[in-house]
Structures are given as C-alpha cells and as structure tokens.
C-alpha cells in the first residue's frame, strides 16, 4: 500500500481478506489454529513415553551389577526405576498439554514476553552494556570489598575470562569479519607466549612491556606466514590447513628441545612491572614505594587491569577497523569474494591483513598468558584451546563483539561456577560430585543455545555506516564466509 491518503475514513484503510490475515499472522493476533488434539491424545502420548522408559530403564536403571566375591552381585532398584518412569510420564504430559497441543504454546508466550521486555525499553541493551563495562572497571575492588576471603579466586577467574574475551575478539576479526574459518588460532597464542618466554630467557633486559609489542609483531608475521598458503583455499580445506598449522606449531615447540625446552616448558618468566616497580614484598617493591601494606592480591589486581586494557585495545581497534575501508573490505570478502575483486579490492592483501591483525592480538594475549603463569609448556596450546576460542566466537555470534563477552562469561565462568555447586550433594546424596557432571551440563547448555539461537547469541549485524536510520541487519541476510 502506498502512503495512506488523507481524508479517508479510517475503516477504509483497514486491510481486508488475505492481507488482513497475513498481517494478523505477523502480529500474532490471529487465534492459532486448533491442533485438534484432545486430552486423551496427550495422555496416550505420555503413556507411550512412560512405557518406553520403563522397558529401557528395566535394564539401565533397575538392574545393577557389582563385582562381589564369587561372581556378580545383582541388586535391583525398583524405586529409582519407578521414579524415572513417573518423571518421563509427567514431563511428556506437561509438554503435550502446554506446548505441543496447546492453543497457545507456552514457549511462544514466553518468547513473546521476553521480546516484549526488550522492546519495552529500547535502551536497555545499551545501559546493560554500560553497566557491564563499569562493573568490569571496578571488578577487583568489588571482589576485595565483598568477598575478602575468596577475592583471589574470583579475580583470577576474571583474568581468565578476560583473556578469553581478548582471544575471542582477536579471532572474531578473522572468522567473524573476514569470514575465514581458522581452527588453529591457538598457534598465535603459542607464538606470543613463547616469544616472550624465549626473549626473556635469552636476553635479561627484556621485560613484559618490551616483549609485548615484539610478541604481537612476531605473531602477526606468523599470521602472514599462515595466510599465504591458505589464500587460495576455501571452505573445509581452509579449516583443515589452519588446523594443521596450529598443530605444527605445537609439535615444533614440543620437539625442538634445545631451543624451547620441549615438554619441560619454560619457567621463571618475569612478572610485569608497574613503571619499573616490581610487585614484590619488601624494599623497592610497589607496596613499599607507595607506603601501603604488602598484599599478594595487588599483583592479581594489576594483572587484571593489564588484560582489561589489552582487551579494550583489541575492541577499540576492531571497532575502528570495522568503520575503515579495510574492515568493510573484510566484511565484503565474507559476503562475496568475486565481487570484491571486481571492485578493485586486492583480496590477497585483505586476507593477509585479517590474518595478521587477528594473530597480533592472539600474540598479545599469549605474552600476557606467559607472564601470568610464569611457566609455559606446549600442553597449554592444544587444539582444545582453539576449539574453545572458536566456540566462544560462534556461540556469541560471528562478528559480534558483545556476543563474545557474553559467551566467554558463560563458557569460561560457567564451567568454573559448576565447581561451586556443593549444595547439590545435599540434594543428591553425599556421593554426588557436580564437578564430574560439569562438562555434561556444559555440553547440554551449548546444544540448547545453538537450537534456540543457531547463529549465536547476538546474531544481528550493525551497519558500519549510516545515512539516516540505523537498522540492524538480521542474521539470515549476512553471509558466513568460508568454511561454515
């Protein structure tokens, strides 16, 4: 419909027929089509499920065998078996009544309420972000004030999360913006860490602050070295070669014993200094200089602010680059490489800059990792690390900076939080150790999130230039690039 004409009675402008139906469907005001399922159907379905559980559970849950003197000892657990059947029946029935056969599925109502919550206050997201940022700024003091006994543990966890946020942001440049799937990102992390460790080992005068830019530079060079062979590769092949590259670095570190110490690793990596002041006890230390009492927590707070600053730098540079021609070229490359070439964009250089800038931030994070741990060995740089960083980026939503933060907090913080579920043993009995189940719960959570939000938690893309009105671009429009 073209713009509504003036002086026309309002009811004439109302859509009719199929259009009205379509609009109602869009608004969700149209009464949903009744499914035609009765309570009887629901009961039958729940009963079927219960019988299935009963048959399967008869052996899996009910019968338990233990090795006993003189053979196997068979015990039966009828109560557990019966409870599991009841749970299956009740759960299935509830699903049937409230979701599958309901006139208004509960999930839909819930989803609408959540969406309405977001729409009710459009600035919420922005304020939430600002709140998060302020919290990150004062985080160490927050924990030292409120949790004096456990502040060290919490700040350490915050440092870990922040490291992964930085790594996620670094990888986001390569995977999220340029659309080049990199399964070997940990290689650059390793290059950064080993650059600092080896430089500090062979040259006494090199401290953290000198090594940091050098480590970034070396990692960037390695990024280019990796970039060249994979320039022509696409899709799965690109992913496999980057994966292999990540492993090559680790294997070289492991086997070049004379230079890297092999599996023994490198220890005694220097700690960062605060403008030349070491954070140590006694004369000439940080506490002594400022005339405050020495507390080992100072070092953790200092480390936290270093990684916080590094992460902010990564974010700042990435956000700036997105608004620069090179960042737009990365995104254009992800969308359509051939069109890029037709517009005079040198795709080779564009890919190489993406690889090397992403690698540089990996290198920064690596050298921070080395100084925090004081000891590194090839074991810290396995494929699992790459997979976790990639999972953070994918879970957060490719190309989204906020998504990476949320995903890091959920993934790294979430795993650690599961260690603190001691109260569960009161529910499930003293033999229950939630730590053993944390990977299971974690995996389940990831599956659920990916089902609910297949393109990541924050899947919309923000345009890098706006003429009149900033509109977010839905994930279905945005291409994913190579190897997805």
């Amino acid at each position: 419909m073209a713009g509504p004409a003036k002086n026309v009675p309002a009811d004439i402008q109302k859509p009719a027929g199929a259009q009205a139906k379509a609009e109602a469907r869009r608004d969700g005001t149209q009464p949903p089509v009744p499914t035609g399922k009765t309570m009887q159907d629901s009961l039958r379905d729940a009963l079927t499920a219960a019988v299935l559980v009963g048959v399967l559970g008869l052996f899996f849950i009910n019968v338990r065998t233990d090795i006993a003197p003189g053979g196997l000892d068979v015990t039966t657990r009828w109560v557990a078996w019966f409870v599991s059947i009841l749970i299956a029946f009740a759960g299935r029935l509830a699903l049937n009544v409230f979701v599958f056969n309901a006139r208004k599925p509960a999930t839909e109502t819930l989803g609408k309420k959540v969406a309405a919550l977001g729409n009710a206050a459009p600035g919420t997201g922005k304020w939430l972000l600002r709140g998060l940022f302020i919290f990150a700024c004062i985080l160490p003091f927050f924990f030292t004030m409120l949790f004096p006994g456990r502040d060290r543990q919490f700040i350490d966890l915050a440092i870990l999360i922040m490291t992964y946020i930085m790594l996620g942001w670094g990888l986001n440049i390569v995977v999220g913006l340029a659309g080049l799937l990199d399964l070997g990102y940990v290689a650059f992390y390793a290059v950064g860490a080993y650059s600092f460790a080896l430089l500090a080992q062979y040259f006494d005068f090199i401290g953290f602050w000198v090594a940091l830019p050098l480590a970034g530079l070396l990692a960037a060079v390695w990024g280019m070295v990796l970039g060249f062979p994979v320039l022509r590769l696409r899709g799965d092949y690109l992913a496999i070669v980057t994966l292999a590259f990540g492993e090559i670095i680790r294997v070289v570190l492991l086997n070049w014993y004379e230079f890297t110490g092999g599996p023994d690793g490198i220890s005694g990596i220097p700690k960062p200094t605060f403008f030349g002041l070491e954070l140590k006890r006694g004369e000439g230390g940080f506490a002594d200089f400022f005339g405050i009492a020495y507390d080992p927590i100072h070092r953790f707070i200092f480390l936290y602010y270093i990684i916080f600053a590094l992460a902010l730098l990564t974010n700042f540079v990435t956000m700036r680059l997105r608004r620069l021609p090179i960042g737009r070229a990365w995104e254009a490359l992800r969308e359509d490489e051939i069109a890029c070439r037709s517009l005079g964009i040198n795709t080779r250089n564009t890919k190489l800059t993406a690889f090397s800038i992403g690698a540089m931030f990996g290198g920064f994070a690596g050298s921070f990792f080395a100084t925090r741990q004081g000891f590194i060995s090839p074991e810290s740089f396995t494929f699992l690390e790459s997979a976790i960083i990639l999972a953070i980026v994918v879970l957060g939503g490719l190309g989204s900076q906020v998504g990476v933060v949320i995903a890091s907090v959920v993934m790294i913080g979430g795993i650690e939080m599961l260690r603190n579920l001691g109260f569960l043993s009161q529910v499930f009995g003293p033999g229950f150790d939630p730590v053993q189940y944390r990977m299971l719960i974690f995996g389940l959570a990831m599956v659920l999130i990916m089902v609910w939000k297949p393109r990541g938690l924050v899947s919309t893309r923000e345009p890098s230039a706006v003429l009149k009105e900033k509109k977010k671009i839905g994930a279905d429009m945005v291409a994913q690039g190579e190897g997805h």
Binding site: L324, P325, I326, R341, A465, M477
Partner: protein, 461 residues
C-alpha cells in the same frame, strides 16, 4: 566528451567511429578451456562514449569475453587494450607491448594491457568496472555500505592505510564524507535513496540490479561492463535501465559495454553492436546494419538450405562432386547398390564412406532430425553425403560410423548418441523417446509435425 553528438561517421569511410577513438580494443582474443575453444580469434573495438552491445545466442562466448576483459580469465592468446584519453595512441600501445610492462600513463592519458593485469588492478588502475549475470551484491551489508566498499581504494589511501583511520585523523573523516556524498548521488540516480540503510539482499530484484550498476559506477570507471543488466526486469524497469545507461553515457562520459539478450534494450540504446556465435564474431556495426545482416538472422533464427554458413568446406566438397556426376548418374530409388557420391579425399578419413545417392529415393527423404543428435544442420550435411533415409543410417557398420564421424568432424558422437540404433527403430516405423518429442513439436526440427517431409510421407518409410 560524448561522441554521440558527432553522430555516425559516413558509411564506407576508412575508419568507423569506434575504430577512430576506441576506449577498448580486443585483438585476436582466443580463450580455450582444454579442447573447447570458447572464443576464437576475436577482434573488436569499443568506441569512447558509446554504448556497445555484445550479443549472440546462448553459449556464444559473450561472458567469456567479459571475463577476459575484466581479468577473471587470463586469455589463451590475444591482446586487450584499454585507453584513457583520446585517440588510438598506437605508438604508446606498441611501446608498452614491447616493453613487457602492464601499462603506461601520463597526463591523463594511459594505455593498459588488460591481459597482463590482475583483476583488481583492472578495476583500480585501468578503470574498468563490471556487473555480474547473477547479481553479486554484498547481501548482508546496507546499500550505502555496498557503495562505500566500491570506493575502497581511494578511501584506503585517505585513511593512511588504516593507521590514520585508527587514530581518528580528520583527513579520513573528510574523505569518508565525500565517499558518502558520492554514494548518495548514485543512490538518488538509481532511485534507491530511501533504501540506503537496508541490507542489499532485502531489495527487490530490479533494485538489486540498479544497485549493482550504482556500485560499479562508484569505482569511477572509464568503461562499464554490464552482463545482462536487463535480465529479469519488467518492461518498465527495462525502460528505466535504458534511461540510466544513457545518463551514464551522456553525463559521465563513461563508455558502456553490455551483454544483453533483450533485443528491445539492445536495439534501442546501442550505438554499436557486435554479434558473436560459437566464439566467432559474425557481425559488427550499428543496430540497423546488424539487424539487416543475414548471418545474424541465420544465427538467431536458423538458416535456409541455400545460406549454409556453418560448414562451408563440406558443402564445397560436395558441390564439386555433385557437378561432376550430375550428368552421368540419375536418381535411383531405395538404398543404393553403388556409391553415387564420391568425395575426393574420402580416403583421408578412417573407415569407409557410406553409400549415398545424389537424390532422395522415390519414396522420399525421411526427417532425420527425429534421430537424437541430428539437428537441421547435421541433416543437411548428411543429405549432402547422399544420406536421406533412416534405412541408410541403420545399415551403417562400424567403419561407416567412423568415417562419417571423422568427416563431419565430430568423432565419437554417432556412437555416443546411438544414431544407428535409433535409425533402426525409426526405419521400422517405430518411435523413440526423442522422436516423440520431435513429433510433438517440443524440439525444433527441420520440418514440423510427425516428420512430414518436404516431399514425402516422412518417418514412416
């Protein structure tokens, strides 16, 4: 800037207008893919300030030419010259070609050898922009962003290769504002300004085509190459496209080279048309000249027997032979017992020449196009060899098949397509899957209907 005001050079003059001042010259361009010659020894000029159309039937090699010009393919042979500044600049072209350099430019003049340049340099330095047959926009980016990506190279320089941009220097901000202004100009031109902040893949098809042209124009090209810009547009959109292309030519002095199947568009706006068929140029001239060219008509509509243009050598051979024998032999009926048609160099081909008669048998010739693999062209070739009926083909043995295949220069095809077995079925009055389709009029045939032959009862021998 616009050469159109000068109007066409007089006919028959030494050089055509586009030959005097070509912006692009394609010389002896050949592109082979393995054994397939997609473009064979093609030469043409694109006049400065002209709208030049490259037309031809499907598979004629038009897009291949485009891909060679824009650097997406490296031509097997040939030279592609792009010129900035007036005139043919023959001396510079020669110097650059001999020097092994890719291009030479001074004071607004320049000569670029496109076959030596990588694709991104062709757009960046030689100023050749292109669009694609299947639209290639950056779907997840807004219209405005699409047009900013097109201005990548000047913006990179303005951003101090990103370093100045990261530091937030004002020089980049100014450059970006200018870039946005340019983008807005083209968005207004293409009536997309209201959708500037919408993702490109949200636009309707016609708008996407316009956006792609706007994006190409944002690179500031001297030559704009459009691959089927009117494909999928409705008549009103086509008319708008014509207007846009005229505007680009007249107001920006940009030369346009376009591939198009929509003859309405082509004939209306083209100053110069080049017609390709099977990778070879068959006509070159103004719209009126091309329209009247019998070769063009033949390529698009098929040919009459008299105007066989595709296989001249076979025809000449046969003609000679026919003349020699005409007085001696008279038409006989049925499958001949003796060889009537003698090809002079028949022995040069492997196998044995099949028996053929100068005239069709009394019962008449069959519609050979009912055999899958034999089109009107091949039917004529076979007729020239004295093959008129299904019975004759059905009688071929291995040696005959081999000879015909190599004489007609498609070895292996007869076996592959099973001409002989098809002919056996058809000779007995049966039907094959394909012949049914021919009879049903679903496949073009030399004669319509159920093999109604020119002078006989057709397939049912």
């Amino acid at each position: 800037m616009n050469a159109m005001t000068g109007k066409k050079a007089p006919e028959g003059a030494a050089l055509r207008r586009w030959e005097q001042d070509p912006v692009l010259s394609v010389e002896h361009l050949t592109m082979r893919f393995g054994g397939l010659v997609a473009v064979g020894d093609l030469s043409f000029d694109v006049g400065r300030g002209d709208i030049t159309a490259l037309i031809g039937p499907n598979g004629a090699g038009k897009t291949t030419v485009f891909n060679c010009v824009t650097g997406f393919y490296k031509p097997t042979e040939g030279r592609i010259i792009m010129r900035h500044g007036p005139g043919r600049q023959d001396d510079t072209v020669k110097t650059v070609t001999d020097s092994g350099l890719r291009f030479h430019k001074e004071d607004g003049q320049g000569v670029y050898l496109l076959e030596r340049m990588p694709d991104h340099e062709i757009s960046h330095k030689a100023k050749v922009a292109r669009t694609f047959q299947n639209i290639r926009l950056f779907g997840g980016m807004t219209c405005l962003e699409n047009l900013l990506v097109a201005q990548h190279n000047p913006l990179v320089v303005a951003s101090g290769f990103s370093i100045g941009g990261i530091l937030g220097l004002p020089s980049y901000k100014n450059a970006e504002e200018e870039a946005i202004e340019k983008a807005v100009y083209w968005l207004e031109r293409t009536h997309l300004i209201d959708r500037a902040d919408d993702p490109a893949s949200d636009l309707p098809y016609g708008a996407q085509r316009r956006l792609e042209i706007a994006r190409a124009m944002c690179t500031g090209p001297e030559l704009l190459c459009l691959d089927e810009p009117a494909a999928g547009l409705n008549p009103r959109e086509s008319a708008e496209l014509n207007e846009l292309l005229r505007y680009i030519r007249d107001e920006h002095g940009t030369s346009v080279l376009l591939i198009e199947h929509d003859m309405g568009v082509v004939m209306e706006i083209s100053d110069h048309i080049i017609v390709l068929d099977y990778g070879v140029k068959i006509s070159d001239g103004t719209a009126d000249e091309v329209k009247a060219d019998p070769k063009v008509i033949a390529a698009y509509l098929g040919v009459d027997d008299e105007e066989e243009i595709d296989v001249p050598e076979v025809l000449e051979d046969v003609k000679e032979v026919v003349e020699e024998h005409e007085e001696q032999v008279h038409a006989s009926s049925g499958v001949p017992e003796v060889q009537e048609i003698v090809i002079a160099d028949a022995g040069n081909y492997p196998g044995r020449q099949p028996l053929g008669t100068i005239n069709p048998p009394a019962s008449g010739a069959n519609n050979l196009t009912r055999i899958k693999g034999i089109g009107p062209q091949n039917e004529r070739k076979l007729n020239a060899l004295g093959i008129w009926t299904f019975g004759q083909i059905a009688a071929w043995g291995q040696e005959e098949v081999e000879w015909v295949g190599s004489y007609l220069a498609f070895p292996g095809r007869i076996e592959r397509e099973g001409w002989v077995s098809q002919a056996r079925v058809l000779a007995e009055g049966g039907d094959t899957e394909f012949s049914k389709r021919v009879d049903g009029g679903k496949v073009s045939s030399s004669r319509p209907g159920r093999g109604a032959a020119k002078n006989n009862n057709g397939g049912k021998a």
